[in-house]
């Protein structure tokens, strides 16, 4: 928290100024005003997949509406299991269903899966490589509700878990393609979810989601941004802004946090003299940035390196656009960081 304890804000009536944004709903849309979106891409993709996959069931801990699983629940009411607000039970029961041959898609918020249910995911699911797909809304900083709902360390928590594949999709297209891909993947998967009206960005690029593959979306000589999740759209936007200023930025989208696509990352990050930025919607500790840094150190790649990530702090509550600016995740903030570093 940046504010002092009980610090009283300036009142609008006393200090009239620019319009102050409101926190808005629990899950604020990350879409820009004129950005094309798709509604509930995960829910619709799962319904489509379930037509041909009778083994797919859906479980939630009282958050179907907020994870887009309600779309599946409506289409397949007998394949939907409401487990109540009990995340340990949720994961244990999913393990039991997977043992009996089903492929459970399990949804809750990222904070609850990581912080409350870790041991159950670890021992009941991951240790036995059961095909449970854990799909969690509110990854990183995607709500203004404060630390109780901001999963700023979910990747740090889960990266240490053996057997677990971790996916951080960028947009609606990524989610639509990742949903069947993780269902076909033999082991457990954690996928960070953007829900509601989710921006559609990657359809403008020659792109297809593949587990374990990083994809170069645009090339450039001045800097390389390796990014995952919504930070890929921010990086693309920042690259557009910088191109207008004569700075050409390459963007490597890396939606699989684990296992890391080491070959592609090394090939791109090894280009001499091009600084490497890693942009992630996550704490600077334990996420994609540190994973890439460790890889580059191990392999002797010593280009300039900088993380664009959230600070190691419990973050403020407030309106999401304000917070993304404050903590450096907005496109403008990303462009500024790259500009400062590349000089």
């Amino acid at each position: 928290m940046i504010r002092d304890k009980y610090q009283r804000p300036a009142l609008l009536s006393q200090a009239p100024g620019p319009t102050r944004l409101k926190t808005s709903a629990m899950i604020a849309s990350i879409a820009g005003a004129d950005q094309p979106t798709r509604a509930a891409p995960f829910g619709h993709a799962l319904v489509e997949l379930a037509k041909t996959r009778a083994d797919i069931v859906g479980l939630t801990a009282d958050l179907s509406k907020y994870t887009d699983l309600h779309i599946f629940a409506k289409a397949y009411p007998d394949r939907f299991y409401q487990m109540g607000m009990a995340e340990q039970l949720l994961m244990g029961a999913a393990a039991g269903m997977a043992r009996e041959g089903f492929t459970p898609f399990v949804t809750t918020y990222a904070v609850f899966a990581t912080r409350r249910a870790y041991d159950f995911i670890c021992m009941a699911i991951a240790e036995e490589r059961l095909p449970v797909k854990i799909v969690c809304a509110l990854p990183g900083l995607t709500t203004g509700y404060g630390p109780s709902h901001q999963a700023t360390e979910d990747l740090a928590i889960f990266r240490g878990m053996p057997n677990l594949t971790i996916i951080d999709p960028c947009d609606a297209l990524d989610i639509e393609q990742a949903t069947p891909a993780i269902a076909s993947h033999p082991g457990p998967v954690y996928m960070r979810l953007l829900r509601g009206n989710v921006p559609m960005v990657l359809d403008r690029y020659d792109y297809r989601f593949e587990i374990g593959k990083a994809k170069l979306l645009r090339d450039g000589d001045s800097a390389l941004v390796i990014s995952s999740g919504l930070m890929t759209m921010r990086a693309l936007e920042a690259a557009d802004m910088l191109a207008a200023q004569g700075v050409s930025v390459a963007v490597l989208h890396n939606p699989t946090i684990k296992p890391l696509d080491e070959a592609t990352i090394l090939a791109q990050a090894g280009r001499a003299g091009r600084p490497v930025f890693v942009a992630e919607n996550h704490s600077a500790i334990g996420g994609l940035g540190e994973a890439v840094a460790a890889l580059l150190m191990r392999k002797g790649v010593y280009n300039r390196f900088r993380q664009i990530a959230l600070p190691d702090e419990f973050l403020d509550a407030g309106a999401l656009p304000t917070l993304h600016d404050r903590y450096g995740l907005s496109a403008a903030a990303v462009a500024k960081t790259i500009r400062e570093t590349t000089g």
């Binding site: 299991y81 109540g84 340990q88 029961a93 043992r99 009996e100 041991d119 021992m123």
Partner: protein
């Protein structure tokens, strides 16, 4: 007796319990220490489970029609191995590998190691949640199989047990049979002193379960309770609460005050086996 095949089919349940205790003591001797008292205490419950209640095929541990028996208390593995040996699921000669390098019988039970071990227990309090998922799945498959989940009074400290208990009641899982070993001993001392869980029967009743509470070392009482659990017409999950005596059957070990993790001197194993033999009911 409902298992499809069985070696030595004419042995009494009391004799089965005796033999399970003997297998457990022999495994204990390999390590020189371990969760012997729990194994001796729960042997009658396992004898009634594997030789009266459960449907299974000893040579086909993953047979789809089997009743699932989940060991939530991973450190009771020594007891379940003894029962699985007696049931013909595991060969008796593997006793000597218990807890050793590359053994299929690790000290804490793990599904990937041992035929007949349905889940990886050990992180206490997880079994009943997994059992809920399996019971829901079996209903989805229209299977007639039961899910049994053996857990301990110590595990009742874990909040997740009560999440699962509420869920099983809410989903009316009449194919789920919980079996609680109440031996009133956990790592730090007598269970009721660590965290009082009584009155236990009424707690489960309040969560929608059909409750039987019996002396877990009384085979006739266990048979009646397991029959009631399996054949009762009432909706909802069933639980058999078994009050057992730690180290039952070996009086000088029963008398040890702190017997959660027993250390037994080398010469005492022979004495323990002799004491067990002396109490054998023929």
């Amino acid at each position: 007796m409902t298992q499809e095949t069985n070696i030595r089919p004419n042995l009494s349940l009391a004799e089965r319990a005796y033999r399970i205790r003997r297998h457990a003591l022999r495994m204990g001797e390999v390590q020189g220490q371990g969760y012997i008292a729990q194994a001796l205490g729960v042997a009658d419950v396992l004898a009634v489970s594997y030789f009266h209640a459960l449907t299974y095929r000893p040579g086909e541990p993953e047979w789809e029609g089997r009743d699932r028996f989940l060991l939530s208390i991973g450190h009771y593995a020594i007891a379940l191995y003894a029962a699985l040996i007696e049931a013909g699921v595991l060969p008796e000669d593997e006793l000597e590998t218990y807890g050793g390098d590359d053994s299929r019988l690790p000290m804490s039970g793990m599904a990937a190691y041992t035929p007949g071990m349905e889940i990886t227990g050990g992180s206490l309090g997880q079994g009943l949640s997994i059992a809920v998922g399996m019971a829901l799945a079996l209903k989805r498959k229209a299977s007639k199989a039961y899910v049994y989940c053996l857990f301990s009074d110590g595990e009742l400290d874990e909040g997740a047990v009560w999440e699962a208990a509420m869920s099983a009641g809410s989903h009316k899982l009449d194919n789920l049979i919980g079996v609680v070993d109440v031996n009133n001993m956990q790592a730090d001392g007598p269970s009721k002193g660590v965290l009082n869980f009584e009155p236990l029967g009424p707690k489960f009743e309040a969560f929608g379960w059909n409750v039987e509470r019996v002396d877990g070392n009384d085979i006739d009482a266990l048979v009646r309770a397991f029959d009631a659990a399996r054949h009762g017409a009432a909706p909802g999950p069933r639980i058999v609460i078994c009050d057992t005596k730690m180290a039952k059957g070996v009086p000088f070990l029963e008398a040890r005050e702190r017997n959660h993790f027993l250390r037994v001197e080398a010469e005492e194993w022979t004495l323990a086996l002799a004491a067990l033999d002396a109490g054998r009911q023929i």
